[in-house]
Symmetry: C2
Subunit: 196 residues, 2 copies
């Protein structure tokens, strides 16, 4: 027996798809109810407001991202852990591209009703990258650099993953992962071009 009702699940699924398509503000509760196949009254019976509905969606998404990143990080030591995190995040994006698009559009909003909970979860996800990076940077690295590097790798994976799904969905997942990770190999900065 599911922890949440079938109705609630249908509403969440509809809100997710529409939110990814039109943005949250651009999605109406009428559309959500229609797509979910229920009456609008039922939507408001299950979720007290539009804000609550999308907050539940977003926090659940970032939360599952965090735990996936954590599992990946703990699955391998050193840089292999970073590789695993990138691969895991790409898999998550591929497995739920609507959620990925929604999160990409919402992650930098600073005046939403759910701003605080999102910021906490965002930092939680980035912290996983920071934890993976911490043992890999030299001792003299400035204090504030780690969050920026973490954000960079997170952003690269997110943007690369969305580029993948939207513009070259036929590329194998492993190739995408390899392309992103290649940039971290140091081979781009080999002084003169490698053909020379």
């Amino acid at each position: 027996m599911p922890r949440i009702s079938a109705t609630k699940e249908a509403i969440l699924a509809a809100a997710l798809e529409l939110g990814a398509l039109h943005g949250i503000s651009g999605t109406t509760m009428d559309e959500v109810s229609e797509r979910a196949g229920v009456a609008k009254g039922s939507v408001y019976y299950n979720f007290s407001s539009k804000d609550r509905l999308f907050e539940e969606l977003l926090t659940a998404g970032v939360s599952s991202l965090s735990s996936a990143l954590r599992n990946a990080r703990l699955s391998a030591p050193g840089f292999a852990g970073i590789e695993a995190m990138v691969a895991a995040m790409l898999a998550l994006i591929a497995g739920n591209r609507a959620l990925a698009k929604l999160m990409a559009a919402e992650i930098f909003r600073t005046d939403r009703p759910w701003q605080v909970s999102m910021a906490v979860l965002r930092r939680e996800a980035l912290s996983e990258f920071e934890a993976g990076l911490a043992p890999l940077v030299p001792a003299g690295t400035p204090r504030g650099s780690l969050p920026l590097m973490a954000a960079g790798i997170f952003g690269a994976t997110l943007m690369g993953g969305l580029e993948w799904l939207l513009f070259s969905p036929d590329t194998p997942a492993a190739d995408v992962s390899a392309a992103i990770l290649f940039t971290y190999s140091g081979k781009l900065d080999a002084g003169t071009p490698p053909t020379a």
Copy 2:
């Protein structure tokens, strides 16, 4: 004498600030007119619709990003060109954080009235990174990898830049640039941790 009127400029500035704050759908034309200090009728005299107003804003933004990236790329050969592009993009983000936030939220929307023009400009910006990367990757690199790497570096710079401005604005720009670029040095993947 400015190419566009002072009124038009005030409207664009107001729309930019409010759009970055509440999102485009969340921004009303009443708010725009109030913040611009003009009547709503004047807004519609200068811009035929809300969509047109924000389209003008976004296309101008991505366009200036493209040319900044291009100039940076041509300013230095090899990997130094990539470094210059990252620095230039960070400077642009710092110089117009509202536009950066707006673009971050809109860049992956696929069903907007301005979808086509945005997609064209987006690809134009990414092409600059691709052009910079092309001489740096090995001969055997798969065809589709370059756009993914370009998207990765673009995403890293965007996400790192936004992280910077929102959560550690006191960090010097050079440090931010250095942090992002360090991840591409290959020093993260030095086998065992550098302290071993």
